[in-house]
Amino acid sequence: MATWIFYILGAVAVVATAMAVTRRNPVHSVIYLVNSFFALALIFYLLGAPLVAAWEVIIYAGAIMVLFLFIIMMLELSPGEEADRQGPGPLQWLPVLLLGGALLGCTLLLLQLDPAGSQELPNWYASPRDFGYALFHEYALAVEIVSFQLLFAAVGAFYVGRPASRKERSGGER
């Protein structure tokens, strides 16, 4: 049963991601991407990572994608600009499809070559308790470093997004 659920969820994730990549309106593609993240979160749960699945929904679908929506609304683009006006034509798609297809084919061939890959995934479940123990005991230093990184990112975002100073406003391109 779990096998079928995995394949269905994988198909949903791939289709939703493909729709997200090809939509012209960024808002539509963000919504499709949220759909794809939900499918990925369920796959994480099937793989025995319930806490990571919850964080996938909360952080990715809940926080990051909503941030994207906020920024798209904040930019106040003119209606013609919001979708790229004519979208990328076949001249843009063709080389990318060829190169991407070649790379993907090589990757899949490499995966076929590895005999270890055909082993089945074991039935395994990591309880949130074990996970928290590993995170805050073995990786305590890394957690501190990551928290510093988040602080630096907040400071950087505040610096880059500050209101333009008076000098820039009078002398700049505006």
Binding site: T17, V21, V52, Q119, F131, G161, R174
Partner: protein, 101 residues
Amino acid sequence: MIVPFQHLLILASIIFFLGLMAVLVRRNLIMILIGVEIMLNAAGLVLVGASAFWQQLDGQVMVIFLMALTSAEVSISLAMVVYLNRRKKTIDVRAFDELRG
């Protein structure tokens, strides 16, 4: 979970290359950032799958670090998108193809 490890890797690589195509072909800055998000998610899928395959927690811990890295990256890059839009009134990448900025 009766799925070969291979199938998980195939799923992750398909999603990764979809994200790569979004980065290469789109001209909208927001869509390029969305492509980066898709690629990072595919990497997270591989990490969780490896964690289940070897029955070690390290992969899942690394996914949490990946999420922290993604949120930092997204906050800075979206702030830069707002800044660039304020300067040139567009988020088309073709407007930013010169070093003078």
